[in-house]
Amino acid sequence: MDTIFGVPTQALFGQLLIGLINGSFYALLSLGLAVIFGLLNIINFTHGAQYMLGAFTAYLLLTKAGLGYWWALLIAPVAVGITGILIERLLLSHLYKLDHLYGLLLTFGLALIIQGVFRNEFGSSGQPYPIPPQLTGGQNLGFMFLPNYRAWVIVASLVVCLATWFMIERTKLGGYLRAATENPALVQAFGVNVPRMITLTYGFGVGLAALAGVMAAPIYQVSPQMGADLIIVVFAVVVIGGMGSILGAIVTGFGLGLIEGLTKVFYPEASNTVIFIIMAIVLLLRPAGLFGREK
């Protein structure tokens, strides 16, 4: 068997693939966090719970309504996005005049509620979710075996990330959004309905989290705690990337996924902590983050 640096190539590429998959989810989630933060100045602690809600929506659609993966991919982000809009209208919108830390505390409380309710309902163990029939099987690439579904997740999340980037950086709607991030009062004066834009932005960010949740369902199992630990890693990703740029969030997400995968090959003991260690180093060298600007 071939080896690179004393590691079998099979294992190396296998871990790199897992790294890319994890990176896809880091990118999707940190992208949603960055979009929400840009306009609302709130770190959405509920993001992990909303990712879990997406996965559970897919699971419930399949078991209760018989609707499969592709329907879930469509329905879950919209449904969870609507709950996000309700949260924004009923709760978050009353906190904008206060210190931003209250938004963090509120969303933390919401995450506890959502995760607690699902743990009561479904227990702590994971529920399996099947890979859609169109994407079972895999390709033999010669140097490794690539399951179709995993290839789909990587491609799909890249497409979603780039589409989001395009929408925000290159379209007129995105222009309004960026302008409102810089100076909401002025944009409001130009006749743009900024409060509605804020609401829809939150719904969109939450929808992205739910989309990630649906895509994650066949890979990791569907469990109430699936988002809780993930979100902390995503926070570290956000600190490393800095929240100044959309492209930065995408690059950092995928990059850190790969680094984590490599760590699993060469020094498995540190694979849980490597992202936090990188965060510490980045904070020492470039406190604003790799792509961030000091405000």
């Binding site: 933060f37 100045n41 709130i42 770190i43 709760l91 009353h94 906190l95 005049k97 206060l98 210190d99 931003h100 830390l101 209250y102 963090l104 505390l105 509120l106 933390f108 409380g109 919401l110 995450a111 506890l112 509620i113 959502i114 995760q115 607690g116 309710v117 743990r119 009561n120 630990d229 902390i232 890693v233 926070f235 570290a236 956000v238 600190v239 003991e269 849980n272 902590t273 992202i275 936090f276 260690i277 965060m279 510490a280 904070l283 020492l284 406190p287």
Partner: protein
């Protein structure tokens, strides 16, 4: 902006100082009499968490820094005290002192990183650093992994007083708690505490007055972390247990909740908040995961409608009745 976050700030007018002294005397009496009314271990648990919450409040309430990673100091202190008491045979006072000293170093290292960013970033960074400590505790050889360190001997205080007796242990915890509380009181009302409040209210102005704000924030972070370590170490001796629960992020969330319920930036708020939350956990323990839901709901209610907390609201009532 920051003024909105701290509605119940402890002011230092003569009248307020007098009422604070009375409140402290009341608390000492309550601590002295509590073992007659409630189970001593329960009262000790309340005191450990109250000290933890007071230490946390020193940072958010008086320094304006929201740490979401204080479990690393509490849990770290618990592990260090448990290990030194069980494996190295330290006497209880040495074990707690050792734990406190080590968490001071941990707070210095993490504080140097965390104070490089402000506001929301500060919260995320402390959370991530605490998660790192959590994974370390999960994997390190001396922490016992999922089991934690169990059957920690309480030992003999100064080699003389046997703390296996719950009442002796209670006296020890009471001294630690009241001593820690007085220390925080002193810090808050010292010139250092005043500068800290100035930084909280308006950091650029404090900088322009010539204060090295980073150093003040770091010292506040280290003090807060150290006293949290003291609380955690004491808690490990009380329960004879140090486990992953103590370092988990949900513990960091719990101490935020205690402080928020009691009243951010009030001296006695965290004590009241800790008593309320620990009591609630005790009564709701059989409900399992619903405890999390209830805690989340309290978070939401506090943030939406009750931002001053119990002590802050009482203080406001008191002030409204007696116009100055």
């Amino acid at each position: 902006m920051a003024a909105v976050l701290h509605p119940g700030t402890a002011a230092a007018s003569a009248g307020e100082t007098r009422s604070l002294r009375w409140a402290f005397a009341g608390m000492v009496a309550l601590v002295a009499l509590a073992p007659l009314a409630v189970y001593p271990v329960f009262a000790m648990k309340v005191m450990c968490f109250a000290l933890f919450a007071c230490a946390f409040n020193l940072l958010i309430g008086f320094g304006g820094l929201l740490s979401f990673g204080h479990a690393m100091f509490f849990g770290g202190g618990a592990y260090l005290a448990a290990h030194s008491a069980k494996v190295w045979g330290f006497t209880p006072e040495l074990a707690v002192l050792f734990a406190t000293a080590c968490t001071a170093l941990l707070a210095l290292a993490t504080g140097l990183l965390a104070i490089r960013r402000q506001g929301i970033y500060f919260a995320m960074i402390t959370l991530a650093l605490a998660q790192m400590v959590y994974f370390f505790s999960l994997q390190a050889p001396f922490t016992g992994g999922e089991d934690g360190i169990q059957a920690v001997p309480r030992g003999k205080l100064f080699g003389v007083v046997d703390l296996a007796n719950n009442y002796a242990m209670y006296a020890f915890v009471a001294v630690v708690f009241l001593g820690g509380f007085l220390l925080i009181w002193r810090i808050v009302h010292s010139p250092f505490g005043q500068v800290l409040k100035a930084i909280r209210e308006n950091e650029p102005r404090a900088v322009s007055l010539g204060y090295d704000t980073d150093r003040y924030k770091l010292v506040a972070f280290v003090l807060s972390g150290t006293i949290s370590g003291l609380a955690g170490g004491t808690k490990a001796l009380v329960f004879q247990l140090a486990s992953l629960t103590d370092v988990h992020w949900s513990m960091s969330g719990e101490v935020v909740l205690m402080t928020l319920v009691g009243g951010l930036g009030t001296l006695f708020g965290p004590v009241v908040g800790a008593a309320v939350i620990v009591t609630m956990q005790n009564y709701l323990a059989q409900l399992g995961a619903w405890v999390t839901v209830v805690q989340g709901a309290i978070f939401v209610v506090c943030v939406m409608a009750f931002r001053r907390g119990i002590v802050g609201e009482l203080g406001a009532l008191f002030r409204a009745k007696k116009p100055v």
